[in-house]
């Protein structure tokens, strides 16, 4: 998920400092909708932007396993338990091939994970909110994965080949997750009074953070125009957010749920749903590290990584031993 990294200003060597001839040929290829592949020449700023974006996307998938993982052991039926397990596993899978896509740009998975654990790399802010009831599993699938899909479908046409190809697969799975989440919400909304209240409460808590997933309003957006020019990003934050709201509001009404936004109304002229003002101070607070679960998410990830150190060391040591033995056998044979 998540293009939050594209809202960050790039501070390295600017593209304008590159060889003008190479830069022109590069831009011509992008304008012709050709894919840029790992061994092709690319401006350093393009490489940096992509590493930042893809790795943040990967980190988001990994951290995103936590809030949903919170309900695996309490899932209320075996079917739901299997569905949720498979979903969280998919997220791990997304993380894996996104790290692999980032590695094609010359940055190892270990380096990227170290940046995450050192707090130098971000992940999507949405995962700093807690999952407080089973309905949150439905709301995350419906809203968070729904928002992610809006962000990610354009990324399937991203100019960088490995990322675009990874996104095609990710989008297929996310769209399944979104339907699965909506189906959970549907079941709860059609269920007992307590279940319906659970669904409403989840919508109340996840609606605004989901809208924030698209990043700051276009008028406040600090990202350079380069990402648009390079066809990494193809639509503005507000355009994508509007698409999401238009798609999601009727779905919520179909469930018989209310959106926690008294200003929400349909513009009869344009047909678009207009939402109220987003509380950007909350967005900034969570982004700055003061969301409800920022510390906890990093603590858990760090602990899992540290607890696993001896296992990774053992695997490496064993692989070395095997290689040495194989070499000894070869030498003896010669």
């Amino acid at each position: 998920m998540y293009t939050q990294a594209l809202n960050v200003k790039d501070t390295g060597k600017p593209a304008s400092a590159e060889d003008p001839g190479k830069l022109a040929r590069f831009q011509a290829r992008i304008d012709a909708e050709e894919k840029i592949e790992p061994n092709d020449w690319m401006p350093e700023a393009y490489r940096r932007t992509l590493i930042r974006q893809i790795s943040q996307h990967a980190h988001s998938e990994i951290i995103g396993m936590q809030p949903e993982g919170n309900w695996i052991t309490r899932a209320p039926s075996l079917r739901r338990k299997a569905g949720l397990l498979a979903k969280v596993q998919d997220e791990g899978g997304h993380g894996l091939y996104l790290y692999a896509a980032a590695e094609t740009l010359g940055c190892s998975r270990e380096e990227l994970v170290d940046q995450l654990l050192a707090g130098k790399a971000k992940y999507s802010s949405i995962f700093n909110y807690p999952t407080l009831s089973w309905a949150d599993i439905g709301a995350i699938g419906w809203l968070v994965d729904g928002a992610a899909i809006m962000n990610q479908i354009p990324l399937c046409r991203c100019s960088y080949g490995p990322y675009a190809r990874a996104m095609i697969r990710v989008c297929k799975e996310e769209s399944f997750h979104q339907r699965q989440g909506y189906e959970i919400m549907m079941t709860l909304s059609r269920g007992s009074a307590a279940q319906k209240a659970m669904a409403q409460d989840a919508l109340n808590r996840w609606w605004w953070p989901s809208l924030m997933m698209f990043g700051p309003s276009d008028k406040d957006s600090v990202h350079s125009t380069d990402t648009m020019k390079w066809k990494i990003k193809r639509f503005s934050n507000d355009d994508l957010r509007q698409k999401f709201v238009d798609a999601t509001v009727p779905q919520g009404h179909y469930l018989g749920l209310e959106f926690p936004d008294p200003a929400l109304k349909r513009d009869e002229k344009t047909g678009h749903w207009q939402h109220g003002e987003i509380d950007w101070s909350e967005f900034k607070r969570v982004l700055a590290g003061d969301g409800p679960c920022n510390r906890q998410r990093m603590k858990v990830r760090t602990k899992a990584h540290e607890d696993g150190t001896w296992v990774r060391e053992a695997a490496l040591a064993h692989a070395r031993k095997r290689a040495e033995r194989a070499a000894a056998v070869r030498i003896a044979a010669e």
Partner: protein, 284 residues
């Protein structure tokens, strides 16, 4: 279903009559399904083994030592939970009282669960989880292989699917046990400790009650003792390659089949069942 199976199922009826007649029946170690047919009890025990171990594995999701393992462990868990669902669904049909997979998984207390104690042991560290998996899968793989020849067509069908899954579980856990045993000093120490802790729960894999023996006689269930050579061969091969010593024969723990568990199962079920039980009768 074969006629022998039907005959074994019908043994449920006299047991119920006895109860209705007000005779004091011998308490069967707190087992909730004491009055049920041997086939029902047998199928439920297969389901309980799979669910309880699958649940344990699912607890790892997101906390594994590598990203690859964060994908592999849920995979193992999904296989086992899938097996449990098939077995529970079948058990519910055998019983014929309208209990579905969720009624069996979520609405029985720990005394009603008949899984082996090995399955419910806490995850511990990664070595303990992989050793537990190896000890279990090295048994269940040949067991399901034999069960594919069951005279009960449903059991044979479920076993045919499960046998492929358990082959992978053996391979995956064996590879890790070998890496950890023959890895670093620390990993070797942890693997040896886990093996030592878990060994006393392996005897129960081979135990059979009276009902199960009757099912073996009828060609429905598999003689657990007949699995020993295959289990020994796998365990010995893997431990040798892992440079770990096979523990000396020791006193074995058992009781799981009769609903007498270790202290760990109650807590595990409390967590697993809490939401389902908080909202009785609803659809999820």
């Amino acid at each position: 279903m074969s006629s022998t199976t039907a005959a074994l199922q019908s043994r449920r009826a006299p047991a119920r009559k006895a109860k209705a007649g007000g005779r004091t029946s011998r308490p069967a170690a707190g087992k909730a399904d004491a009055a049920s047919s041997p086939l029902f009890s047998y199928v439920v025990s297969l389901a309980d083994d799979a669910l309880v171990l699958g649940h344990r594995l699912s607890e790892w999701t997101g906390y594994a030592p590598t990203l690859e393992e964060d994908i592999a462990l849920p995979n193992l868990a999904l296989d086992l939970i899938g097996q449990a669902r098939f077995f529970y669904a079948y058990a519910g049909e055998i019983e014929g009282k309208g209990r579905d997979e969720d009624a069996l998984a979520y609405l029985r207390d720990e005394h009603g669960f008949s899984n082996v104690l090995l399955a419910e042991q806490p995850n511990g560290d990664f070595a303990a989880t992989m050793l537990r998996q190896l000890l279990y899968a090295a048994f269940m793989h040949p067991y399901f292989q034999a069960l594919t020849a069951s005279k009960d067509a449903r059991l044979a069908e479920i076993a045919a699917k499960a046998v492929k899954e358990m082959a992978y579980h053996v391979r995956h856990s064996a590879e890790w046990v070998i890496r950890l045993g023959d890895g670093t000093e620390e990993s070797r120490r942890r693997a040896a400790a886990a093996l030592d802790e878990l060994w006393m729960y392996t005897g129960e894999l081979f135990e059979m009650g009276e009902g199960e023996r009757a099912l073996v006689g009828a060609g429905v269930a598999v003689d657990r003792e007949s699995i020993r050579p295959a289990w020994d061969a796998t365990i010995n091969r893997v431990l040798a390659e892992a440079t770990l010593e096979r523990p000396a024969p020791c006193g074995m723990q058992s009781g799981g089949r009769a609903g007498r568990h270790t202290e760990y199962l109650g807590r595990m079920l409390a967590e697993m069942q809490v939401l389902h039980r908080a909202h009785p009768g609803v659809t999820w």
